[in-house]
Symmetry: C2
Subunit: 415 residues, 2 copies
C-alpha cells in the first residue's frame, strides 16, 4: 500500500491547516451562539418549551467521532495505529482478544492515558453521560492522548472485539451492547471491520448490526486482511459479506465495503494491489471530509435552532402583550391557550414565519398551563434583529470561511 | 477466455462418451421400470393410491434442462452460442430485445427449427403440458435442433428477456411469468444472467426472482460482460448484486455468482483475465456434472418409488387376504378401514417395512372407501422378489456403470 504524505497534493493544504481553519469556524460559531442566541433562549425558556437543553461549549468544540467496531482480531487497533502512523499510549495489538477497553484517541501535547472516570466528567469532552454504565464500565474506558494531526481533525474510538452471543453477556461486567449503542449515537462515522481471512458471518455480523440498529446510514465496512487470500476467494468472501449485509441491514442503499489490508505491513499477495490502493483512497477521502461535514451539520442545526428560537420569542412576546393590565389575567390566559391554533396562525402571518418552526401544539399548550403569561418577558426587537443578523450575515460569512469541499485534504492518514 | 477442447484433460473422457454412457444407464433404468415395476404399479393401482401417474418413456429419456433467464440484452443467447461453439437455427443476437420466443435447443442429426405446436405434443419430449398456455404462447415457442455434443448431455432453454414490470404484462400475448415458472419447475439448473455493464437491480432482479420463487436452490447467477468495467467498478457491481440477491432471495446460502464474459469475443480489459478463467471453469464443471446428477436423481427417485410400490403391494395383498370367502365382505372391509393404523402396523412388522414408505392414512382410507377389497389382486411373491432384485442387485449395478464423479468431463463447452 502506497505511503502518502498527510499533504494533499491537489490543494496543497495539509490536514493541519484544514483542521485549524475548521476549528476557527467552530469557535466563531460558538461565539455567535453565546452572544446572540443563548441570551434569547434563556429569556424565553427555549429549553423548557422545546425540551432541548441549552448548548454548552463542548457541542461546538467536539471533533467528529469515528467508531471502530468488529469481532476480535479483525484489526481495529491495527487500523488506528495505521491511521496515526505510530503507536499510541495503551495500545495493544495481538492475535487473542486483546483490546479490553473502550479507548478514546485524542489530540494533546503530551502522551498519556486518561482514566475512564476523568474522561466521563471532563467538561470539554463529549463523554459525559457514560457514568450511567457504572464503575465496572468506567474501569474499561480509557483516553489515549498524543500529539497527532489526524486527531486534530477527528476523534477515534477503539472498542473491544465483539464476542459471540454467549460470551458477550457473561464475560463483561457491563452492558456492552448499550455502550456501543451510546457511542454509535454520537458517532459521525461507524467503521465495521471484517476479516476476509476468516469471515464468520453468522454470529459476528448479526451481533454487530443489532448493536448498530438505527445508525445504518453512518456505517462503512472494511473487509480487512484481503491480501491474505487469492482473487477468486476474495470475490466469494466479499460476495458472502454483501449477501449477508443485504439480508441483515434494513437500509435500501448498498453498504459501502472497502476491501484491503489496513496496517503498516506490505501486502502478502500483490495481485489486487491496485484495487486495494483505490479502495484505500476512497476510504481516506471519506474520513478526510468528516470535519467539514460535521461543521456544516453543526451550522445547519444552529440555523434551524435560531429559527425556532425566533418563533418562540414572537409567541411568548405576543402572549405577554395580550395580558390585561390589571384584572382577568387568568381568564385571558386560559382563553389564549384554548385558542392556541388561532394564536399561532396570527403570529405566523404577522411575522412571516414558517409552520415548521413552531412547537408542537399539544405539548406546548400543556407546558403553557404550567406558566404565568404575566411573568413572561416582552418581545425585544433588538434581540430579534440580532438573530436575523446572525442568520443572514454572520452564518453565510462563516460558511465561506469553511475550507471548501475540494480544499478538504485527500487523505487523513499520517505517514 | 481460453478455448479448451470438449475433451476433459484429466480423465481423457469426451463429453460424447460420457453422454453415451449416461444414456445407456437411462435406457437400462427404463427397462427395469417397464419389466419389473410398471406391472406391479398397474396391478395394485399405485397411480390411484399414491396420486402419482405411471412413468412414461420421456421421464427416463429426457436430458437435464438448463434454463436461461435474465433481462433483455444481458447475453443469454450469446451464452448459448458460446456453449455450443456455433450458431443455431433461429438464433438472434443483438442490442435490442431480440429473442422473442422460448427456444428449446435439442440434439438431432439435421439442423432445423421445430414449431411450438409440434414441440408441445411430441411424445418423446418433456414439453407436453405447454399447450395450457394457449396458441399465442405456442407461436412463441420453438425447438432448435442441431447436431451438438453439448446437447447430447443437456437441453438448453433460451428465453425472451425479462422486461420491466409494466411492459411484461402488456407487450406479450401470454402469461410470461407462468411460462417461466413452468420451465423453472422442470429445470435442473436455472442460470440467471446480469449485465455488469448496466446492472439495473430494481426492476430486473425482483421480477426474475419472483418468477423463480420456490426454485432458489437451482439458481446460479452469471455477472456477464464483466470485462467491460475496471476492477473497482466490478467489485461495486458484484457487491450490489449480492446485496440485492441477499435481500430478495429467501435461501440462507449465498447465491453463486460467476463473474466473467461468456461469449466468443476476446476480453476487453485483461486485468481480471485469470479470475474470469477460474470462474468459467467452475461454471463449466457445474454444467458438466448435470447429466450424472440427473441420472443419480432419477435412480434415487425410482428407488423411493419401488419401496412404496412394494409397500402398497403388501397392503393390498393383506386387505384382500382378510376378505371372508362368502358372506360379510362389506362389513369386514369397513372394519379393516376403521382399523387401518393397526393394519399398517401389522404389515410393517410382518414384512419389515419403513414407516416412510406407507401412504398417508387419512387420504388412503378415503381412497379405500371407493374400492371393493374383494376385487383386489392377491399378493404375488414372485413380483415382490422381482422388485427386491431390482433394488438390491440391478440398481446397484447400474450405479456402478454410471460415469463416476471424477470421470465427468471438466467442461461441457464445444470449441
Ligand atoms: N491488515 C492486516 N493483515 C494481516 N494481519 C493483520 C492486519 N491487521 C491486523 N493484523 C493482525 O491481526 C491480529 C489482530 O489485530 P488487532 O489487535 O489490531 O485486532 P483488533 O480487532 O483490535 O482485536 P481485538 O478486538 O482483540 O482488540 C494481530 O496479530 C495483527 O497483527
Ligand atoms: N459477454 C459479452 N460481452 C459484451 N457484449 C456481449 C456479451 N454477450 C453478448 N453481448 C452483446 O450484447 C447484446 C445482447 O446479446 P444477446 O442477444 O445474446 O442478449 P440476450 O440476453 O439474448 O437478449 P434478448 O433478451 O433480447 O434476447 C448483443 O449485442 C451481444 O453482441
Ligand atoms: Mg483491538
Ligand atoms: Mg436472446
Amino acid at each position: 500500500m502506497s505511503k502518502e504524505a498527510a499533504q494533499s497534493p491537489k490543494s496543497g493544504k495539509t490536514i493541519d491547516q484544514t483542521a485549524d481553519r475548521t476549528a476557527i469556524v467552530a469557535a466563531r460559531l460558538k461565539k455567535l451562539y453565546k452572544n446572540s442566541v443563548y441570551p434569547v433562549e434563556k429569556k424565553y425558556r427555549y429549553d423548557y418549551f422545546f425540551e432541548s437543553p441549552l448548548l454548552s461549549d463542548v457541542e461546538f468544540d467536539a471533533k467528529p467521532q469515528v467508531l471502530l467496531v468488529g469481532q476480535y482480531s479483525v484489526g481495529k487497533t491495527s487500523f488506528i495505529r495505521y491511521l496515526l502512523g505510530r503507536d499510541f499510549p495503551g495500545q495493544r495489538i495481538g492475535p487473542e482478544p486483546t483490546t479490553d477497553r473502550f479507548t478514546v484517541l485524542l489530540n494533546g501535547p503530551e502522551e498519556r492515558t486518561i482514566p475512564g472516570n476523568a474522561l466521563s466528567v471532563h467538561p470539554d469532552l463529549p463523554f459525559r453521560g457514560l457514568e450511567r454504565f457504572g464503575v465496572s464500565f468506567l474501569s474499561r474506558l480509557e483516553g489515549s492522548q498524543l500529539p497527532s494531526s489526524v486527531l486534530k481533525s477527528i476523534t477515534l474510538i477503539d472498542t473491544p472485539g465483539i464476542l459471540s452471543g454467549e460470551k458477550q453477556r457473561t464475560n463483561r461486567g457491563y452492558d456492552f451492547t448499550k455502550v456501543v449503542s451510546w457511542f454509535a449515537e454520537k458517532a459521525d462515522l461507524i467503521i465495521l471491520l471484517f476479516d476476509a481471512h476468516k469471515l464468520d458471518i453468522s454470529d459476528e455480523l448479526k451481533g454487530a448490526i443489532d448493536v448498530l440498529k438505527g445508525h445504518e446510514d453512518k456505517i462503512r465496512c472494511i473487509l480487512n486482511k484481503a491480501d491474505q487470500i487469492d482473487r477468486q476467494q476474495l470475490m466469494r468472501v466479499y460476495g458472502a459479506l454483501l449477501w449477508s449485509l443485504g439480508k441483515t441491514m434494513t437500509s435500501p442503499e448498498v453498504a459501502r465495503v472497502y476491501v484491503g489490508s489496513f496496517w503498516q505491513q506490505p501486502l502478502q499477495h500483490m495481485d489486487n494491489a491496485d484495487l486495494f490502493e483505490m479502495e484505500e483512497k476512497d476510504l481516506m477521502k471519506d474520513l478526510a471530509v468528516l470535519p467539514r461535514q460535521s461543521a456544516v451539520r453543526k451550522i445547519n442545526e444552529l440555523v434551524k435552532r435560531i429559527r425556532k428560537v425566533k418563533t418562540l420569542a414572537y409567541i411568548i412576546g405576543y402572549l405577554k402583550s395580550q395580558m390585561p393590565a390589571l384584572m382577568g389575567k387568568e381568564k385571558k390566559q386560559k382563553k389564549l391557550i384554548a385558542d392556541l391554533p388561532t394564536v399561532f396562525r396570527t403570529i405566523m402571518k404577522k411575522y412571516d414565519l414558517a409552520p415548521g418552526d413552531f412547537p408542537e401544539i399539544a405539548s406546548f399548550s400543556n407546558k403553557l398551563h404550567e406558566t404565568k403569561f404575566a411573568e413572561f418577558n416582552t418581545l425585544s426587537e433588538k434581540q430579534i434583529a440580532d438573530l436575523d443578523r446572525v442568520l443572514n450575515e454572520d452564518i453565510p460569512k462563516l460558511m465561506e470561511e469553511l475550507p471548501s469541499e475540494k480544499d478538504s485534504p485527500d487523505i487523513i492518514r499520517s505517514k
